[in-house]
């Protein structure tokens, strides 16, 4: 046990930096829907671009207000750091007020990533529920930029209403591609909606993937992820090829504050992306 303390002190200095936010400048703010927005950020000190893996998250700090964990929603090959979030709490509401030129503090990237390498030569089905689309976008971008390495690629996306649909312009572009299938459903239709109505699991039957050679990446409310997973398994998808991204309260992002525990795992460092069998038993338990 004493070995912990025999480590050279220089390693402890390295460990200090993950606790300190670095200032990033807002280059662009885009309103996505009534309550969601996207910020594009640049490192302030002329540093090189922000390296991350699809599925990872950052801790975003609004000066003097507080900090929240938010998935990265940008293309990993892009030049800016992109986050899309819903204004729901004190910090995200303050963030929604920020404009071009304002500064946000960033700690990260943290956590595990989507298995884009493992998905090669397979059919890939993305399933997003509501605000679950932004965390999937980096993986979708990366797969589309190496499209020839993958089998069929499908995006299934469910939102509450048509006006809650995120990334509308991009979805239109994606829909126009012949090498990507996009299916959208809403819980409640409004006038003029001619698309699907119902929960996102109803789209799975339309996706037409080769279930023996499919990898699924799912993000959404826990109940949606549970039923989506059940549906995939029912259709013969290997549980090991189903990946989910989980969410819990987080204060540190580095496994020290204890808040994000989900049974034995820390969502921040063992997740947020999990292979389904890793958390299968926990997902059916209430208030874990």
């Amino acid at each position: 046990m004493a070995s912990v303390l025999e480590l050279s002190s220089d390693r402890t200095e390295v460990a200090a930096s993950p606790m300190l936010p670095r200032p990033f400048v807002i280059k662009k703010v885009r309103r996505e829907t009534e309550d969601t927005f996207t910020v594009e950020l640049d490192p302030r000190e002329g540093r090189s671009r922000f390296e991350f893996l699809p599925g990872q998250f950052n801790m975003l700090y609004v000066y003097g207000v507080g900090e929240v964990p938010i998935s990265i929603s940008g293309d990993p090959a892009g030049s800016t750091l992109v986050h899309t979030t819903r204004a729901v709490g004190a910090v995200t509401k303050a963030m929604a007020e920020l404009r071009r030129g304002d500064v946000i503090g960033i700690r990260g990237p943290f956590g595990t990533s989507w298995p884009v390498a493992e998905a090669r030569n397979k059919d890939v089905v993305f399933v997003a529920g509501g605000i679950g689309l932004p965390p999937l976008r980096p993986a979708l971008c990366e797969i589309l930029s190496h499209r020839e390495s993958y089998g069929k690629v499908v995006l299934l996306y469910g939102t509450r209403t048509p006006s809650d649909i995120l990334f509308k312009d991009e979805l239109e572009q994606w829909r126009a591609r012949f090498d990507l299938e996009v299916f959208i459903t809403v819980d409640r239709a409004s006038a003029g909606w001619r698309g699907n109505v119902g929960v996102v699991t109803t789209l799975i039957q339309k996706a037409g993937f080769d279930s023996r050679n499919t990898l699924a990446m799912i993000v959404g409310p826990e109940v949606m992820m549970r039923f989506t997973t059940i549906e995939f398994i029912k259709r013969g998808v290997n549980p090991d090829s189903i990946y989910l991204s989980m969410e819990r309260n987080m204060k540190c992002g580095i496994g020290l504050c204890g808040h994000c525990q989900f049974g034995p795992v820390f969502i921040c460092k063992d997740g947020p992306v999990f292979r389904y069998p890793q958390i299968k038993d926990l997902m059916v338990k209430w208030e874990i």
Binding site: L7, M19, Y63, G64, H259
Partner: protein, 378 residues
């Protein structure tokens, strides 16, 4: 092994002070023994002992003028190595942007502590927190600095406290590793202290203290007293299979029973020497030109602890108690290779309604064993 006389304890404290240590030891405050700075042996709880039981703590006088006659009080050493509030950084407004400066050189994060009177259970707790804060990919630099600088004088228990269960967890009553010096206080044909040296640092501090090599019968006297404490430990918690037992009983009716008593007050997590959860607060000065981040101890018993947009993940106290005990005894093993419980008994003593972790676990364990037996007989 050396023998020192009661008077020489002051020499030890002075020797530590000469090495620029701030000496922390048990001392009386109000009606409890707390841990605080001491400058002489007279500030130790001389001639005091304690009576502890679920939700009860009382000090009583004893005939002998012992220094270490009481068992652990409400404080643990974690408040020094892992301060209850700690500034993580200061951010200063600079025009459109801000600058962040690390602020971990504050007094509470750079002090050189000498801990006098660390019981074996608490020594195990420190070693568990070493893993929590220093064993993973990300480390806590403030903890590691304080820990690295700390000097530890352990004290072996010669008396079992009313709520102790270290013997069953094999964390006490004797301190085995991780100390610079270890004292056994013996009342047996006189009053003397046996000192075992654990490190070179310990040997150096002891070199200016009046001492003589201990004789065999003195060593045997101390051993006898420690063995007696082990035998008199009134509670036990069976540490095997804790993971299987708790993971397979998440819906046990006992959780509802304990939830009827549990106040979700968080006392157990505050007195626990291994609980490590924290919250952060971002606070600004009135002009908004300085924004500090302060880390504070937090508890999984609060509603806010698991709050995400839409609500708390664990709204019921049933789920919160289950989370706490399951983390302590089961998921801690997955996370850090050891349980998070050392058998100090503080959570039992300081629970306002006297919930006893050994009793709660025993009930769940009995169900598990009953089911296992049922399965094997069919």
């Amino acid at each position: 092994m050396y023998r020192i006389e009661p008077d020489a304890l002051n020499e030890l404290i002075q020797s530590l002070q000469k090495e620029r240590y701030t000496v922390i030891g048990p001392t009386l405050r109000g009606e409890a023994i707390v841990l605080d700075t001491i400058t002489s042996a007279s500030e130790l709880p001389v001639g005091k002992t304690d009576e502890q039981s679920p939700a009860k703590y009382r000090l009583v006088d004893k005939a002998e003028k012992t220094f270490f006659g009481a068992s652990v009080g409400p404080h643990s050493w974690k408040q020094f190595l892992f301060p209850p509030t700690l500034k993580i950084f200061s951010a200063r407004k600079r025009g459109e942007t801000f600058e962040v400066s690390e602020d971990i050189e504050s007094p509470e994060s750079s002090e050189r502590y000498a801990f006098l009177g660390v019981r074996a259970c608490d020594l195990s707790a420190i070693q568990i927190q070493d893993k929590v804060f220093g064993g993973g990919a990300y480390r806590d630099p403030a903890y590691l600095r304080l820990r690295h600088q700390a000097f530890i004088v352990a004290v072996n228990c010669t008396r079992a406290g009313g709520t102790c269960f270290c013997t069953s967890l094999r964390t006490g009553p004797r301190a085995r590793v991780g100390f610079d010096l270890a004292i056994t206080e013996v009342i047996d044909h006189g009053h003397y202290l046996l000192v075992e040296v654990g490190t070179d640092k310990g040997e150096a501090v002891l070199s200016s203290v009046t001492r003589r090599p201990a004789q065999d019968e003195e060593i045997e006297g101390a051993e006898h007293a420690i063995r007696a404490a082990a035998q008199l430990t009134g509670r036990s918690l069976e540490p095997d299979q804790t993971r299987e037992i708790l993971y397979s009983n998440t819906e046990h009716p006992r959780w509802d029973v304990v939830a009827q008593r549990c106040l979700s007050c968080a006392n157990c997590t505050m007195v626990c020497p291994t609980c490590f959860c924290t919250n952060v607060e971002d606070v600004t000065d009135l002009t908004g030109s300085v924004a500090d981040r302060v880390r504070k101890w937090d508890s999984c018993f609060t509603l806010d602890f698991s709050y995400i947009h839409g609500g708390s993940v664990r709204p019921s106290s049933r789920a919160r108690y289950r989370h706490w005990i399951t983390h302590k005894l089961a998921s801690w093993v997955d996370q850090f290779g050891t349980t998070g419980c050392v058998g100090c008994g503080r959570c039992i003593t300081w629970c306002p309604v006297g919930i006893d972790i050994t009793e709660e676990f025993r009930v769940i364990r009995e169900t598990y064993l009953l089911n296992a037996r049922g399965k094997s007989s069919t």
